[in-house]
C-alpha cells in the first residue's frame, strides 16, 4: 500500500494554448490534511477535475489511494468523497431525495444501509431538520452543507473538498472545520482546496501552493513556514557598526532604520550574530528573531498575493 493518497506526475492540462495546470507533481500523504492553496484561477479546480475523472489530462499521470487512474476509477472513486466547485443538486427534490439519488447512482450500492447512512450524513452536517425541504428552498450555507453530506455518505479514505466553507456564516465555517478535524482523526485523508490562508493555518498538516498552474511549494506546514529565512532584528545606538558586523557575517538584505537594524539570517545562528556584535563593541539593546508567517511565505512564493491570475 502506497503511503500517498494522491500522487501526480507531470500532470498537465492545456485548454487551447495555455497550460491551466502545468507539470504538477502532488504528493499527498495518507492521513494528512493537505491544503491546496492558490489564488483564484490558479488551476486548483482543474486539477481536482482531473483527479475525479471529469476531464482528461493532456499529459502526465496520477494515482489515487495507490491505484493508477483513471483505470481503477470504479474501484477507487467510491472511496473518494468530493465537493467540487460548490454543491449541485436537483432543485425539485428534497435534501434527502437528492442524497438518495446520488447514493443509488454508481456501483457499490449498499442499499440496505442507505437510509441510515443518509440520516447520519445529514446529522453530521446539521441538516437533519431540513431533510424534507426541497433543495430549491435551501440557503447558500444549507446547500453547501448538503454537498458535504453527499461527500460523507460512505466511509471515505479520501475527501476532496473544494472551498468547503464557501458561502458559510462564521458559525458554519467553524462547524465545518471541526468536521474536517474529526474526519482526519478518524483516518481519512483530506485534500482541501482553498484560497484562504486562515483555513490552512487552522486545519492543515501539509500544504501545496499552486500559482498559475504550477506547484511552487509543497511539504509539511512546518517545513514551509521554516523555509525562507527568519529575520534578525537588532536595536542599538550604534546601528552603522552593527550593520557592518552583520554584513561581514554574510547576512542579507540589511536595512538600517534609525536605531534598528534588520537583516535576513540566511542560515546564520542568532547566537553567533549576538556574539560578533558584542565582540565588535556594539551595545546591543535588544536582539530578536522573527519567523516568517505562512502569509509571508505564500506571498513570497506566488509573488502576487490574492489577485486573480491572468
Amino acid at each position: 500500500m502506497s503511503d500517498l493518497a494522491i500522487e501526480t506526475t507531470g500532470l498537465t492540462k492545456r485548454l487551447g494554448h495555455t497550460a491551466v495546470v502545468d507539470q504538477v507533481d502532488l504528493a499527498v500523504p495518507r492521513g494528512s490534511v493537505y491544503g491546496f492553496l492558490g489564488p483564484n484561477g490558479s488551476g486548483k479546480t482543474t486539477t481536482i477535475r482531473m483527479l475525479l475523472g471529469l476531464i482528461w489530462p493532456t499529459a502526465g499521470s496520477f494515482r489515487l489511494l495507490g491505484e493508477t487512474m483513471p483505470a481503477a476509477s470504479s474501484r477507487v472513486l467510491p472511496q473518494v468523497g468530493a465537493l467540487v466547485e460548490g454543491p449541485a443538486f436537483y432543485p425539485w427534490l428534497t435534501g434527502r431525495q437528492n442524497l438518495r439519488r446520488i447514493d443509488a447512482a454508481g456501483p457499490d450500492g449498499q442499499r440496505k444501509t442507505r437510509a441510515a447512512r443518509i440520516d447520519d450524513a445529514l446529522t453530521k452536517v446539521g441538516l437533519a431538520a431540513a431533510a424534507t425541504k426541497r433543495y430549491r428552498a435551501y440557503s447558500l450555507g444549507m446547500k453547501q452543507r448538503l454537498g458535504l453530506a453527499a461527500a460523507l455518505l460512505r466511509p471515505r479514505s479520501l475527501l476532496v473538498l473544494d472551498e468547503p466553507t464557501n458561502g458559510m456564516d462564521p458559525q458554519g465555517t467553524r462547524e465545518i472545520r471541526n468536521l474536517v478535524r474529526e474526519l482526519a482523526s478518524e483516518g481519512s485523508t483530506v485534500f482541501l482546496s482553498t484560497h484562504l490562508l486562515s483555513e490552512v493555518e487552522q486545519l492543515c498538516t501539509h500544504l501545496g501552493i499552486i500559482s498559475v498552474g504550477k506547484v511552487v511549494a509543497q511539504g509539511s506546514i512546518e517545513d514551509l513556514r521554516g523555509r525562507g529565512d527568519a529575520m534578525l532584528r537588532v536595536e542599538t545606538e550604534d546601528a552603522g557598526n552593527a550593520a557592518q558586523v552583520l554584513d561581514r557575517l554574510g547576512l542579507e538584505s540589511i536595512v538600517v532604520t534609525g536605531e534598528v537594524v534588520s537583516a535576513q539570517l540566511d542560515g546564520q545562528r542568532p547566537e553567533e550574530c549576538n556574539r560578533a556584535l558584542v565582540m565588535a563593541g556594539v551595545g546591543v539593546r535588544s536582539l530578536t528573531t522573527d519567523r516568517r508567517s505562512l502569509e509571508d511565505a505564500f506571498v513570497a512564493l506566488t509573488g502576487e498575493g490574492f489577485d486573480v491570475a491572468g
Binding site: 475523472g53 470504479s74 467510491p78 447512482a105
Partner: protein, 267 residues
C-alpha cells in the same frame, strides 16, 4: 439508478405539466365535437375526425394525429434535450460521474428514461382520448378504413398498436435530441435545436420539389400509424418508418456516445 432516473423525470413539475397538456389535447377535441352538437361532416378535419361521434374510441386516434406533428415532438425535444445538458447545467453531472457512474452507463440510463418518456407521453394522449371518447360518445365495434368491422376489443388493441408505433416514431428525434444534449451545457439550446430538427424535417417534407429527399426524412412516414386501422394491416409504410427511425437512432446514439465519452466535463 434506472428507477431513480425515471423517478427523477416524473417527479418534476415540468414533466407532469407536459403530460397534462398532451392528455388535454384529445379531451379538448372530444369535448369540442360533443358541444358542437352535430358530428363533423364526413372527410372533414384530421384523419379519423369524422368517426368520433359514431365511436368514441376514435378520439384516441384523433389525439395521436393532432399531437404528432407538434406537441409530441416538442415534449420529446424538451426531455431528450435536457437529458445530459440538464445535468451539466445543474452541475449534478460532475457528481454523478465522480460517484462514479460510467459515462456509457449514464448515457444508456438516460436513453432508457427518454424512451420510456416517449411511450408514456404517447399513451397519455391515447388513453386520455379513449376515456374522453367513451364518456362523451357511444362506443362499439370499430369500423376500419377498409370498411369492415372489428370487435371493440380488437379495435382497442389496434389503437394500442398505433400508439406503440407513434412512440417508436419519436425515437429517432429522441436520439438526435440526446446527441445535441451532449454537445452543450445549456439545456434550452439543446431543446431548441431538437425542435428545430423536427420543424425542418416537417418543412422539407412539405416542399414538393424535394420529393427525392422526403423518404429519408425523419418525419416523412410519421402518420403511417393510421395504417393499422386497415384490414389487413398495411405494413409497407409502417416498416419504412421503423427503418428510418432505427437508422437514425443507431447513427445518433453512436455520435452521442463518442462525444460524451471523450468530453471534458467543465460544468
Amino acid at each position: 439508478m434506472w428507477l431513480a432516473d425515471i423517478g427523477l423525470l416524473f417527479r418534476r413539475v415540468r414533466t407532469r405539466v407536459l403530460l397534462l397538456v398532451l392528455a388535454a389535447v384529445p379531451i379538448a377535441v372530444a369535448v369540442a365535437v360533443r358541444l358542437s352538437g352535430e358530428g363533423p361532416s364526413p372527410g372533414s378535419g384530421p384523419r379519423f375526425f369524422d368517426q368520433i361521434t359514431n365511436n368514441g374510441v376514435f378520439a384516441a386516434l384523433v389525439g395521436l394525429t393532432v399531437t404528432l406533428p407538434f406537441f409530441l415532438p416538442l415534449a420529446v425535444a424538451i426531455v431528450a434535450g435536457d437529458a445530459v445538458a440538464g445535468e451539466a447545467n445543474l452541475g449534478t453531472l460532475r457528481y454523478l460521474l465522480s460517484r462514479p457512474v460510467g459515462r456509457t452507463r449514464l448515457l444508456v440510463i438516460k436513453a432508457t428514461t427518454v424512451t420510456i418518456f416517449c411511450f408514456v407521453a404517447t399513451f397519455a394522449v391515447a388513453i386520455a382520448g379513449l376515456i374522453a371518447g367513451s364518456i362523451l360518445f357511444p362506443i362499439g365495434d370499430v369500423t376500419t378504413l377498409s370498411g369492415d368491422t372489428l370487435s371493440l376489443a380488437a379495435g382497442t388493441l389496434r389503437i394500442g398498436l398505433a400508439a406503440v408505433l407513434v412512440a417508436l416514431s419519436l425515437l429517432g428525434l429522441a436520439a438526435i435530441g440526446m446527441f445535441i444534449s451532449t454537445l452543450t451545457d445549456a439545456p434550452v439550446g439543446a431543446m431548441a435545436g431538437t425542435v428545430g430538427v423536427a420543424v425542418l424535417s416537417g418543412v422539407l417534407n412539405a416542399v414538393p420539389a424535394l420529393s427525392w429527399l422526403q423518404p429519408f426524412l425523419l418525419t416523412h412516414y410519421w402518420l403511417s400509424f393510421g395504417d393499422v386501422l386497415r384490414s389487413p394491416v398495411y405494413w409497407n409504410q409502417i416498416l419504412l418508418n421503423l427503418l428510418v427511425q432505427g437508422v437514425t437512432v443507431v447513427v445518433f446514439a453512436a455520435a452521442a456516445w463518442s462525444r460524451f465519452t471523450s468530453k471534458d466535463v467543465l460544468a
